[in-house]
Amino acid sequence: MIEFQLDTGSGVATYLQLVQQVHQALQLGLLEPGDQLPTAQQVVAKLAINPNTVLKAYRDLEREGLVRPRPGQGTFITRSLPRTDPAAQTRFLGSMTDWLRSARAAGLGPDEIEAIYRTAFRSCFAEGVA
């Protein structure tokens, strides 16, 4: 069983934090098919959050095909997630670093670079995070 944490300062919606933590646990192998997620009641008792938030997160996970509720028993993991490919991570880290270096060489300061990154990131994920 995993235990959810809440980062209240992150600006990320609470239900999304729960979804992301399940994703991460799957990617790290902390959760495997057959494992049970904590019940909504257990989560709200620990985090003092609205039960609908937990149910919303679990519905999202169900829609992704990662979990399935079993009536009267709880919510169970049905599928594992592939672990992130370390080679891909290294590759993108490399190209990101190259991009940052060239931006800096063009005379942009850290704040400008961050603003550009944020704008690009937002337009790229605009539909996903809202």
Partner: protein, 298 residues
């Protein structure tokens, strides 16, 4: 849709002063509703009208579809925890439960006793010697053991320390998860409301400034900042809630259901705190037809 509280033209007058005037509200049932607003906005008066402790001077209010003072059956449907979670200081915990059982036909003894045990309260202890957090938990126990369909709480955590506050809200959320009742609570602690509420109502000077699903409110409000420009230059689908300007820069808090793509803006999400403060400091004039005047704040 069924509503937990519906009001129209609702007013309450004390002498010559109106504590609440011309209030219109429609709060859907089945939610955990946070009611926020400045002191004196009429929140407590509204809640007292909702539970039948006060009768309206004008207008009407319906709770779960019925009039609040509609007899014992209606009283049994609504649980109420008043400000500062009052209990009878000289009575023991056990006597509070006996009194609850005596006064409420639908009293659920098992819920009451198991909660007291779970909280680790000594049934023989006098309520006056309980800590603030324990007293609040006792008041909550009394309110839910009558198995209400709706629970109304007036500033339940205002006087509690952070730990007791968290414990109280955890208990409340556990009850919501287990019993699926509607909850309406007032609080100035927006961070708490952000955790526990899925619906928010901002009440300023008797008027509902904004009401809606918390997730919908957060995703439809944005803070835009960029080079100075006039509010009238913003697209018509962006309602300006708050604006401030320096000689060079403008910052707006806007409400829009569409994404903001204008590259001239730096767009930031808003927190519930930002949103509440923006609506609380907004001039209470909903009939406004044209854009507000520019004001230079610094």
């Amino acid at each position: 849709m069924s509503f937990v509280i519906e009001a129209s033209g609702l007013g309450k007058q004390y002498g010559r002063r109106w504590a609440l005037r011309d209030c219109a509200l429609a709060i859907p049932a089945g939610r955990v509703v946070g009611l926020v607003g400045p002191n004196g906005a009429g929140k407590t008066t509204l809640l007292h009208l909702a539970v039948g402790l006060l009768a309206p001077t004008s207008g009407s209010i319906r709770v779960l579809g019925a009039s609040p003072a509609d007899g014992p059956a209606q009283l049994g449907r609504v649980g109420f925890v008043a400000q500062d979670t009052p209990v009878y200081t000289r009575l023991s915990v056990a006597r509070h439960l006996r009194m609850g059982a005596w006064l409420n036909p639908g009293w659920d003894r098992e819920i009451a006793e198991s909660r007291i045990e779970q909280l680790g309260l000594d049934p023989r202890q006098r309520a006056g010697t309980l800590s603030g957090g324990q007293r609040a938990q006792l008041a909550l126990t009394l309110a839910i053991a009558k198995r209400p369909e709706c629970l109304i709480l007036d500033e339940p955590v205002a006087s509690l320390d952070p730990l007791a506050r968290r414990d109280f809200l955890s208990s409340l959320m556990e009850i919501v998860a287990a019993q699926g009742l509607s909850v309406v609570l007032t609080s100035h602690l927006v961070a708490d409301l952000e955790r526990v509420c899925d619906y928010l109502v901002v009440l300023v000077a008797s008027k509902v400034q904004v009401a809606g699903e918390v997730s919908e409110l957060l995703s439809s409000h944005h803070r835009l900042s960029g080079a100075r420009r006039d509010a009238s230059s913003l697209p018509a689908n962006q309602e300006v809630i708050e604006e401030s300007h320096t000689d060079r820069q403008s910052t707006f808090l806007v409400r829009t259901s569409d994404p903001v793509h204008d590259p001239a803006w730096t767009v930031r999400p808003v927190t519930l705190d930002d949103l509440v403060i923006a609506y609380m400091s907004r001039p209470a004039n909903p009939e406004r037809t044209h854009r507000p005047q520019l004001k230079v704040t610094s």
